[in-house]
């Protein structure tokens, strides 16, 4: 059997997570996808839109995926017993919530596109809940990404130019932190681009500020493991 590194999961991934029922792919995985959107947004959401791939749209309500997606998107963990009340909690906070069906193409059946808008920014993530609470995020703000929420990650939006990778990895190297993987995607040479750097441990706040302060960097965000 050929190993597929993108599907590599740990003992603790398989024997877990501890979660609110009833479905790991529809409740835990979706809560984690919601949580990714919250972490990328990095501020309180005001509006949330969930676009569900048709098979998920057919099954989400009975599994509490709506509660889970919203719960994650407002920052609840998968084992938080408040998840069944998440929509009520969000609405009491004045957050507007919308669900719609959308064909997201040739993707895993349990795939969702989440758009969240806060006071200062709007973010879009696309990801799949592939079973057992494991997720794969493959789109962030229109860029190709590869993100499982299982390791600390630096996300960076910048203008494509020579030496950018060198400068960013230099800052991470100054922290003595090992880079597990690095991927870039860009709209066009010299235009907006996206970089994802998976790291083995948490960089300091100062390091993030140094990355943000680099010329041509629009935004940088550090995501910890998604619980």
């Amino acid at each position: 059997m050929a190993g597929r590194p993108d599907r590599r999961v740990s003992i603790l991934d398989v024997m877990g997570p501890v979660m609110v029922g009833p479905s790991s792919s529809h409740t835990a995985g979706t809560a984690r996808l919601g949580r990714v959107s919250r972490e990328v947004l990095d501020e309180e959401p005001l509006e949330l839109w969930f676009f569900l791939h048709p098979p998920l749209a057919a099954t989400y309500r009975g599994h509490g995926s709506d509660f889970a997606l919203v719960g994650g998107a407002i920052g609840l963990n998968v084992e938080d017993p408040r998840i069944p009340e998440a929509i009520r909690i969000a609405e009491q906070q004045g957050i507007s919530i919308d669900f719609a069906e959308e064909d997201l193409g040739d993707v895993h059946p349990n795939t969702v596109r989440i758009v969240s808008r806060g006071a200062t920014r709007e973010v879009e993530i696309i990801g799949s809940s592939i079973g057992g609470g494991v997720i794969e995020v493959f789109g962030i703000n229109g860029y190709a990404a590869r993100f499982k929420g299982d390791s600390p990650t630096l996300l960076m939006f910048y203008r494509d130019r020579p030496r950018m990778i060198h400068q960013v990895t230099g800052i991470i190297a100054d922290e003595g932190i090992n880079i597990a993987s690095l991927a870039c995607s860009r709209r066009q040479r010299g235009k907006e681009a996206f970089m994802q750097i998976d790291v083995d441990s948490l960089p300091s706040r100062q390091a993030i500020e140094r990355v943000r302060a680099l010329e041509d960097v629009f935004d940088a965000r550090y995501l910890d493991k998604i619980p």
């Binding site: 009833p22 009975g62 609405e91």
Partner: protein, 312 residues
């Protein structure tokens, strides 16, 4: 990284199988074996608590299930359980976990929530009935997780991807390998236990009534707890699977691909589209629409209240 079950058998020859998995993960993810075991010990505790709560019963979200563990425990008190106590207990405990799951209670996905009754049900029953130390159960959970992680290299562990074989079949394989280890089986026997359990689950579809993790999921978990114990017993007795585990997983993936969409968790085939399944589905949909209507009303009420607060 352990790349296949064949590779696992080589690595695990004359070795403690739990150590093989723990060392591999420790290296791969940069955490110590002790940390993994400590986390698994917490999860075992969540399982035990879930099993206790679950026997008290209570209706599920869709009101289709929830009191099976309670019914069977009460039958036990009335002297009406005729199976070996280990098997009866494994069934009760699996039902208890699944009852909790169906009420949105806190459970451990093992490997999924919908198949999350098998491993805790059989392993906690085995622990209690055969006087196994909890520490040994925790090591067995590492084996269960390790077996699942090898399967996950080539198969998506979800009913949506390949039917129930990918969920309860994998859970039974994990549990069978773990149980075989607990009773004293070696690595080869544990792998054969997993093979026998998975092989005899191939083709099982995912056709939940109303799309809920209730029918047939809750009771099915109790059947597969027994199934997995039977596989462990066979393998420990020296019975081997003719088809190797890696090839069984490949077969599972092919079968999953061949399954029509309606039998992969969409609630558009099988039991879900029986006369009874359809009428339940219809009732659930009406209830959900009603809930949504009430939610919309409350949303409107809140919006009006906010406006009047802000003096607009």
């Amino acid at each position: 990284m352990i790349e296949s079950f064949k590779h696992l058998e080589e690595l695990g020859r004359e070795r403690d199988l739990a150590d093989v998995f723990l060392e591999s993960d420790a290296e791969e993810y940069g955490i110590t074996a002790e940390t993994i075991l400590a986390t698994l010990a917490q999860r075992r505790q969540v399982m035990v608590e879930c099993i206790h709560r679950g026997q008290k019963g209570g209706l599920s979200m869709g009101k289709l299930v929830g009191n099976e563990a309670k019914a069977m425990s009460e039958a036990g008190e009335a002297g009406k359980l005729f199976l070996d106590p280990l098997l009866s207990k494994a069934m009760i405990y699996s039902l208890a976990v699944m009852g909790e799951n169906s009420r949105m209670g806190v459970i451990v996905a093992a490997p999924t929530a919908g198949a999350g009754g098998v491993v805790p049900g059989m392993l906690i029953a085995l622990e209690e009935e055969r006087g196994i130390a909890p520490e040994k159960t925790v090591r067995a959970l590492a084996i269960a997780g390790g077996v699942g992680s090898i399967v996950a290299l080539s198969a998506s562990i979800s009913g949506a991807a390949g039917g129930c074989q990918n969920e309860v079949g994998v859970a039974a394989a994990m549990g069978a390998a773990a149980a075989c280890y607990v009773v004293g089986g070696d690595t080869r026997q544990s792998i054969h236990a997993a093979s026998l359990a998975l092989k005899n689950t191939l083709g099982l579809v995912c056709d939940p009534v109303g799309g809920l993790v209730e029918v047939p999921c809750v009771k099915r978990n109790s059947f597969f707890a027994v199934h997995a114990l039977a596989a462990a017993q066979l393998a420990y007795a020296g019975v081997e699977s003719v088809i190797p585990m890696d090839e069984i997983v490949e077969a599972m993936v092919r079968i999953g691909r061949a399954l029509p969409r309606g039998l992969r968790e969409t609630a558009e085939g099988g039991l879900a589209t029986t006369a009874t399944g359809c009428s339940i589905g219809e009732r659930l949909k009406q209830e959900q629409d009603e809930k949504r209507r009430l939610r919309d009303e409350e949303r409107e009420r809140l919006a009006i209240a906010r406006k009047s607060e802000s003096g607009v």
